[in-house]
């Protein structure tokens, strides 16, 4: 639910930024609009995408495709057991080998993309929404509110890393939903601090003052002046965050606190494969490699988005 609430927020606010900048220019038919011309010039000046960015984008697109339609990549059932072919090493028939029940690891890894990406996206959406709430309160509210939110964040930082997620799971129990919310909660304080300082610095700039003088309401100022300015930064931050959320969520599943076997989830698969570590390396290698692959792709893209925002 929060995932669907989180996603449209960013593009929507970006649209507000474009329409907010002025009325449509008068121009002759066929003549390119200022914006189109601007885009052309900008794409000339923009550095060509680096190979790492292209590779990352392709990896993410393939992973999303695997999450949406795993049948495109494999015809096998991820839960189908075939005891006769247990522990087959990677081979043309089974690219990533098979596990102790003869299930095909490649198939399971492909089907695992859905769980891992979904948890990563939802957790990031939850974390970003919470952080946006806290960060806006602190960045825009009166001093006592800023002080209060800052103290709250300080307290939350005393639960470093996965600790906040573990406490949450102690309270609300083990499971995929619980792990998703737990990861979102654990990532929120970090985002909130960044968003707060972004908003603070925008608030001090001249165009906010102008909007106040023009008599715009605080809600209007937030929607038309502040959100569009932080939107690009938030999007880059969220892209980075998805990578981190995938790593953390798979760690929780690895610990037995998230998705549980026989579900095809990368962390849970790796955990189950550890029993046979001296016998079959492929049970642990491939699921983990996919966590690394997806998180690395998200990280590279997030970083380059941040770099481009800075250069603009």
């Amino acid at each position: 639910m929060s995932g669907s609430a989180g996603a449209p927020l960013l593009p929507g606010s970006a649209g507000a930024a474009r329409t907010g900048r002025g009325s449509a220019p008068v121009r002759a038919p066929g003549e390119p609009s200022l914006r189109e011309a601007g885009a052309g010039i900008r794409s000339l000046g923009r550095p060509r995408p680096r190979p790492a960015e292209v590779v990352s984008a392709v990896i993410l697109i393939l992973l999303v495709a695997a999450a949406l339609a795993p049948q495109l990549f494999t015809a096998t059932d991820p839960l189908a057991i075939a005891p006769a072919s247990a522990f087959t090493p990677p081979s043309p028939g089974h690219w990533f080998g098979t596990d102790e029940s003869g299930r095909d690891i490649f198939t399971r890894v492909i089907y695992g993309a859905r769980t891992s990406l979904l948890i990563g996206l939802c957790a990031t959406a939850i974390g970003m929404l919470l952080a946006l709430l806290l960060g806006s309160l602190a960045g825009l509210g009166p001093r006592p509110v800023d002080f209060g939110v800052n103290r709250l964040l300080e307290v939350l930082f005393a639960f470093p890393g996965l600790l906040l997620a573990l406490v949450f799971i102690t309270i609300f129990g083990v499971g995929v939903t619980s792990a998703t919310v737990a990861v979102g909660l654990a990532t929120a304080p970090g985002y909130a601090r960044i968003i707060r300082s972004e908003i603070r610095s925008i608030r001090l700039s001249g165009h906010i003052e102008a909007a106040v003088v023009l008599g715009r309401s605080p809600a209007q100022i937030f929607r038309r002046n502040i959100l569009p300015n932080v939107a690009a930064g938030l999007f880059a931050l969220a892209t980075l965050g998805v990578g981190q959320a995938i790593v953390w969520a798979s760690a929780l599943s690895f610990l037995g606190l998230g998705a549980v076997p026989p579900a095809a989830e990368w962390g849970a698969m790796l955990s189950a494969g550890r029993t046979y570590i001296s016998l079959a390396w492929w049970l642990t290698f491939f699921p983990g490699a996919f966590v690394v692959l997806s998180a690395a792709a998200a990280t590279v893209l997030g970083r380059s988005l941040q770099r481009r925002n800075r250069e603009r």
Partner: protein
């Protein structure tokens, strides 16, 4: 800049006020953590007395439940329980483990030593690796750019549980050099420490690389070069000292997250410690142990943060006037 003029005469008082405000802040955070977790734990559905007696499956008699409630103070009003809990935590009394029926302080002490050794060793190794990587990655050229990209990726995208498993596959299963299960002694410590240190080194190295690059353009480096100092001298003494600052500030955070990453690493290497204690307690909802571990981690985090701020003030003369 304007504060510089008024700062020097007030420095002794300034330092004392600084320490005082930091201690007050630390006490506040500890109180808030205790309060947050005390009321958070009350959200657990079900009867805590039942959890003490082994969960809903245990079919405890009403008398046994009443006795457990009295024993753990659960029959008192919530406010009484809360104040009682704060009083106990202030005297380092964490109560009795639901599952193990021994004092939580004992359980924590058993695990803390092992985990601290792991975390301190990992932080030290991470720093060494990060310094080497940062110096290497600032020499310019294509290689340096590639190194920094790899650092970013390793820091952000390689999960501890996978790295630890791969290290076991390579060094224990294939080569047979090091034990897969963390035995007491140095050999048993190598793989867990590497597992924790490598991603952290990527993070710190990335941070240091950027500040070394900034420092190399700074006036004090230009003047050091003008004095005729060697390139190595400039890099090691001037640029690195400058580059260490942000990394020192983040070491407090890093140490805290090392302790919570220990949950994963201690599980991968079957190593006894605070992390495994916490994981077991989370799995069976042994609430006093969870509270105990959280309080200890928060305490360690606060102590290390104050220590790193102090180190910052020593390494960076600009901060001392504040």
């Amino acid at each position: 800049m304007t504060t510089l003029a008024s700062a020097p005469p007030r420095r002794p008082l300034g330092a004392l006020t600084w320490v005082g405000s930091r201690l007050a802040g630390a006490l506040f955070v500890l109180w808030a953590v205790a309060t947050l977790i005390f009321f958070g734990i009350r959200l657990i559905p079900g009867d805590p007395a039942e959890a003490i007696l082994g969960g809903p499956g245990s079919r405890a008699t009403p008398e046994a439940l009443a006795q457990a409630r009295a024993e753990f103070g659960l029959d008192q009003p919530l406010l009484t329980q809360y104040l009682h809990e704060l009083g106990r935590l202030a005297s380092f009394d964490f109560g009795t483990s639901y599952a193990l029926k021994v004092p939580v302080a004992q359980v924590l002490l058993d695990g803390l030593g092992n985990t601290l050794v792991l975390a301190i060793a990992s932080l030290a190794v991470a720093w060494l690796l990060a310094i080497a990587l940062a110096l290497w990655a600032t020499r310019g050229g294509r290689v340096a750019g590639a190194v920094s990209t790899v650092l970013e990726i390793v820091a952000a995208a390689v999960p501890n549980f996978w790295l630890g498993t791969i290290l076991i596959l390579v060094f224990s299963v294939a080569l047979g050099w090091l034990p897969a299960i963390s035995t007491p002694g140095i050999p048993g410590l190598v793989l867990p420490v590497l597992t924790l240190a490598v991603p952290l080194a990527g993070f710190l190295g990335q941070l240091m690389r950027e500040s070394v690059l900034n420092a190399l353009d700074a006036p004090f480096v230009v003047s050091a070069r003008a004095r005729g100092e060697s390139e190595t001298g400039v890099r090691l003494i001037h640029a690195l000292r400058h580059a260490a600052l942000p990394a020192i500030s983040l070491s407090g955070w890093a140490f805290g997250s090392l302790i919570s990453s220990a949950v994963v690493v201690e599980t991968v290497f079957a190593r006894p410690g605070l992390g495994r204690t916490l994981l077991n307690a989370v799995l069976i909802r042994d609430v006093p142990v969870v509270i105990g571990v959280v309080m200890v981690v928060a305490l360690v985090y606060i102590v290390v943060t104050i220590a790193t701020d102090l180190a910052d003030r020593i390494a960076d003369p600009r901060l001392r006037g504040r």
